[in-house]
């Protein structure tokens, strides 16, 4: 089918913070860490500088804020040397190419280091309040028995940051770098201990959210949104929006890249050790209560196609202790993604009227908009990639 042109679009309603677009390619992808865009603009008053926050306006509708990642001034005798016909002025066009990343990117990509979060907070050591209480209890008993000094006991308490839940971890991490965060779901699962060091803020937030089957996404305003992946995509009745007219359609039905996910780690449990009966003293020696660790292995499966054998993806978590629930959530989220992406659809059509579509709110995996000046009009198209089915998990696994 043909290309899509629009007479309603012009330089005054298609611009990057006041610089008319020659072209724009913007991709909002929930699987990527950040949305990205590339733009070519005319900037007679000079370019935007790197790091600056700019706004894309398409057809008079804001499509969000971005950080300028790279600015390229292009001067070429053939491509940019022009004579302006109404004034006769000759010179290079003020043509700038921009690489843009979603607003909030600079904070989200920053690493968890002493310089960013403050030496008093570094290294960050989070633990669930219950774990913290138990840890102090153990330390208290050790101090009573004389195994550690009182100073060591207090040191143990100060070294950890007890939190009410996983949301507190994300809120704290984002607060340290000034990244706004909002929660669309609760995060019931918290690893007993978590020490993120040397990783980026967004990677740590995604990891913490994944314990509860959730994920993170930087929205158009640069706010980190924590959302439930399954609730967004895997619910029945959720449909992907279509362009005003579908010019191209692609419907996939692929074999899953993996049909089983196995999560392996260790969990802590409250251990009871029986004492040994001493006939001489007629009392029990040793024994008592304390934390112990044991292996956790959870495997979840997808339904297989004809002749398909099990292909397992094994994820080992050794940096921190986990729980059965956390392992199950991780496995199910991973499998849901695999299942829905293997059966995704891709639709292309005119983008006018579709500026408001956002992946998270409209249950699409990826939205790509292309705006291109053709000499007389803008060609403006959108491509939508989204799920065509849903995944539902029950007590026994995937309900298919």
């Amino acid at each position: 089918m043909g290309q899509v042109f629009s007479r309603n679009l012009n330089g005054s309603n298609c611009h990057l913070s006041g610089q008319a677009f020659i072209s724009l390619q913007a991709t909002e992808d929930l699987n990527a860490d950040y949305d990205t865009a590339s733009a070519v603009c005319l900037a007679p008053n000079g370019p935007h500088s790197k790091g600056e926050i700019v706004q894309t306006v398409e057809g008079g509708v804001s499509t969000g804020y971005w950080h300028v990642d790279d600015v390229v001034r292009r001067r070429s005798g053939e491509r940019t040397w022009r004579t302006r016909c109404d004034t006769g002025a000759r010179g290079h066009l003020p043509l700038y190419e921009y690489r843009l990343r979603r607003s909030g990117w600079l904070a989200a990509r920053s690493t968890i280091s002493a310089a960013n979060i403050g030496p008093d907070n570094f290294p960050p050591r989070f633990c669930a309040q219950a774990s913290y209480d138990a840890m102090l209890q153990d330390a208290s008993q050790a101090a009573t028995r004389g195994e550690i000094t009182e100073w060591e006991y207090w040191g143990i308490g100060r070294g950890w940051r007890p939190v009410g839940g996983a949301a507190d971890v994300i809120r704290t991490l984002c607060g340290w770098v000034g990244l706004p965060v909002s929660f669309r779901c609760s995060l019931p699962v918290m690893a007993p201990e978590y020490q993120p060091v040397g990783t980026t803020i967004i990677a740590a937030c995604k990891e913490v959210a994944s314990w509860s089957g959730a994920s993170c996404y930087l929205n158009r305003n640069g706010t980190l949104v924590v959302y439930d992946w399954s609730d967004t995509y895997a619910r029945p009745g959720r449909t992907v929006p279509m362009p005003a007219a579908v010019l191209d359609e692609e419907l996939h039905d692929a074999i899953y890249q993996a049909n089983a996910v196995c999560i392996v780690g260790t969990e802590r449990y409250w251990k009871v050790t029986p004492g040994t009966w001493n006939d001489e003293t007629r009392t029990f020696d040793g024994g008592g209560f304390g934390w112990g660790t044991r292996a956790v292995e959870v495997t979840e499966y997808l339904a297989r196609a004809q002749n398909e054998l099990v292909v397992e993806e094994r994820i080992e978590i050794s940096d921190y202790v986990i729980t059965q629930e956390l392992a199950r959530n991780l496995a199910r989220e991973r499998l849901s993604r695999i299942a829905l992406e293997a059966g995704a659809g891709r639709w292309r059509g005119p983008a006018e009227g579709s500026q408001v579509l956002r992946p998270l709110d409209y249950h699409a995996f990826e939205l790509s908009r292309t705006l291109e000046w053709t000499g007389k009009f803008y060609r403006y198209e959108i491509e939508i990639l989204g799920p065509r089915s849903f995944v539902s998990w029950g007590d026994e696994g995937w309900d298919f």
């Binding site: 008319a20 677009f21 020659i22 040397w81 022009r82 000046w373």
Partner: protein, 97 residues
């Protein structure tokens, strides 16, 4: 050697395009101006075609030699020798020719 200039042709070419402007009205821009002079001459000896890409003068016009052809015309004589017809295209800088 006798040389007669019997034809001169001047030509100019450019391209134009409209680009969007923040005011909403596209602005028309012209691209590079390409000016040429074509000199057609006849002479009574075989010429050697050389100096391409260099500034040369033919028929009193100077420019960068971008194209040249020479053709033997045995049916014509000039001062008793066979006529050769040459056709030089010179590229000229500037905005007018």
């Amino acid at each position: 050697m006798a040389v007669h200039t019997h034809g001169i042709e001047k030509s100019g070419r450019t391209s134009s395009e409209k680009l969007p402007d923040i005011n909403g009205n596209p602005i028309t821009y012209a691209g590079n101006v390409d000016l040429n002079i074509r000199i057609m001459q006849r002479q009574n000896s075989e010429p050697t075609l050389s100096n391409f890409g260099e500034s040369v003068t033919h028929g009193g016009r100077t420019g960068v030699l971008v194209d040249a052809t020479a053709k033997c015309l045995p049916q014509y004589k000039l001062d008793g020798a066979i006529v050769w017809e040459t056709d030089f295209t010179l590229s000229v800088d500037g905005l007018s020719v």
